[in-house]
């Protein structure tokens, strides 16, 4: 059940995408998402889809696995599509009763839906191909210049990597506690809203307790290893750009140029 949520997970493989510098992937994802919002016509969407398709193929992550991640946000997606479909003013396409669907509504529902799907797929490709450690390393390095204006860059990225690291741990813990309480006859599935909310107490209390316990243990372990922030700290594997990273940047620039060109000339 809980194991099925694949969003934000790492998928081990040895594709070219897995070997890229995390900074390239971070910059790439941000650029991809930003330029999704600049697309003005359908050709742009086709271009973005083809690009995404190529990236997915390169990543060697099974498509089934990637699409499973969408399931988690299916409700949000449907909600947004429905909202756009029914509440956009314009020329009426058809109506039943008080519900009015406009041509503009259909168009913006499709575009919004596509945009959200591309956005999710694009960012999940990044997390599928980058370990949390690499990701925060990349982030720390990218944000490096902000240190000059006293932004605690190292601390932020450390917090992020701890948070990411704890997602699977807490999920596993949830699964375990759920099973343990089910073994004691707890029922998480039946009953009305209030009964169901109440039935979560035997799950949430132990989960919180364990989160605090783990946080405490981790703080102790870090302190025992003389951790005291990022000052003077060196890396075992410092990030270094290689030829393939430059090539990836070049491809990204071409993608951005492509989007701009399509907007202008098509």
């Amino acid at each position: 059940m809980i194991r099925d949520i694949t969003i934000g997970q790492y998928y081990p493989s040895n594709s070219i995408l897995h070997k890229l510098d995390p900074r390239v992937k971070l910059v790439g994802t941000i650029l991809y998402i930003v330029f999704l919002f600049f697309i003005q016509n359908y050709y742009g969407y086709i271009f973005a889809a083809v690009f995404l398709g190529l990236i997915i193929t390169l990543s060697k992550v099974p498509v089934k696995f990637i699409l499973r991640g969408l399931k988690a946000v299916l409700f949000l997606l449907l909600f947004m599509v429905a909202f756009n479909l029914f509440f956009t003013p314009g020329n009426e396409a058809f109506s039943f009763g008080f519900i009015r669907v406009t041509w503009e509504g259909i168009e913006s529902a499709i575009l919004m839906g596509l945009r959200l799907i591309f956005l999710l797929l694009g960012s999940s490709i990044m997390t599928f191909t980058t370990t949390p450690n690499q990701l925060t390393d990349g982030l720390e390095k990218l944000m490096g210049p902000l240190k000059k204006i006293k932004v605690p860059v190292h601390e932020i990225s450390m917090m992020m990597s701890i948070a990411l690291r704890f997602i699977p741990i807490l999920m596993e813990e949830t699964d375990k506690i759920m099973k343990a309480q089910m073994a004691r006859g707890a029922d998480f599935e039946s009953g009305g809203l209030i009964k169901r909310a109440k039935s979560l107490i035997p799950l949430l209390v132990p989960l919180f307790v364990s989160a605090f316990r783990r946080a405490n243990d981790l703080a102790m372990a870090m302190e025992a290893r003389c951790y005291r922030g990022g000052e003077g700290r060196t890396k075992m594997k410092p990030l270094k750009y290689a030829g393939k990273d430059m090539l990836a940047y070049l491809i990204l620039i071409m993608y951005v140029a492509g989007i701009i060109a399509i907007n202008k000339y098509l």
Binding site: Y11, K179, A180, A183, G185, D187
Partner: protein
């Protein structure tokens, strides 16, 4: 009245990079009133197997029969199965959540839909069974020591009066005294109420002196399934799968190799002592020195 496992397979995360064949074609019969030790190295599938026994996990293929009924039948009542097969998870103290010890123990019986009097009666009974003092009734479970917390958690399952009690590493992380107390209590419970007990562990030493039968798992398969004495006779094979026989088995085997005609079957220090004394008294031509 028994559990029969028939060709059970379980595969984790099918079709992904994390795919793992956790149980491979398991066939097993567990009789009523038996005291069974389930042993295996970390990741051998022993915890996975126990979670199948009360239906928390469903096998990828194969069947499990409880008292003759297939638990994978469409209209099998899974909830009643969980009432009959009590499972105490590893580190069960992590599942405590109520404000008082007593309320926490009542959680299981309350879910069984008993009336209040019955619930409280069972909770008192369970507390007695695990040796918890009545003055802990109103204590917060989070204030107790590790060993006490574990007793509370075990009592929470016992209060449901299961016919089969499965304990997944009940002694993990306890000191030797706490470990012996818990194991002794479980053995006593088995003797008194005659329920089936399955004790999961990775330590031979722990279970050897309590159980009637040992099931050794290795990489999702059953490697041995016999009395402790017979299983420990294969101590060389056990070592190969990352386990070991109790230390006295090694001592007895070494004695035999050095020419003292002892039997190699003793599995506890007490039995070993008796055996050595027996042989020495008979006189082996060896000189007993008193220095």
């Amino acid at each position: 009245m028994s559990i029969i496992i028939d060709k059970l397979n379980y595969i984790y995360s099918t079709g992904t990079a994390y795919e793992k064949h956790a149980l491979k074609n398991i066939n097993l019969v567990i009789n009523d009133g038996e005291f069974i030790g389930l042993i295996g190295h970390t990741g051998s599938g022993k915890s996975t197997l126990t979670q199948h026994l009360n239906g928390l996990m469903k096998g990828t293929s194969g069947d499990i029969y409880y008292n003759g009924e297939n638990i994978y039948d469409k209209n099998y009542n899974m909830k009643s199965l969980r009432n009959k097969v009590g499972l105490v998870f590893q580190y069960p103290e992590h599942q405590l959540f109520e404000t008082t010890v007593f309320k926490d123990i009542c959680f299981g019986p309350r879910n069984q839909g008993l009336d209040e009097l019955q619930i409280e009666l069972r909770a008192y009974e369970a507390m007695k069974m695990v040796g918890l003092d009545n003055d802990l009734l109103d204590a917060s479970p989070f204030e107790l020591s590790g060993g006490q917390k574990r007793r509370v958690a075990i009592a929470g399952v016992l209060a449901m009066k299961p016919e089969v009690l499965i304990l997944d590493e009940p002694t993990a992380g306890l000191d030797p005294k706490g470990r012996d107390e818990i194991l002794d209590q479980i053995a006593y419970l088995h003797k008194e109420s005659n329920i089936t007990v399955i004790l999961v562990s990775h330590s031979m030493e722990d279970v050897a002196r309590y159980v009637d039968r040992l099931i050794v798992m290795n990489k999702g398969e059953i490697a041995f399934n016999d009395t402790p004495q017979k299983v420990f006779a294969n101590y060389k094979e056990l070592e190969a799968i990352g386990l070991a026989a109790p230390q006295v088995t090694y001592v007895m085997n070494e004695l035999k190799i050095r020419g003292i005609p002892v039997k190699t079957t003793p599995i506890t220090v007490e039995e070993a002592k008796e055996e050595i004394l027996r042989v020495l008294k008979k006189g082996t031509g060896l000189e007993i020195r008193n220095d």
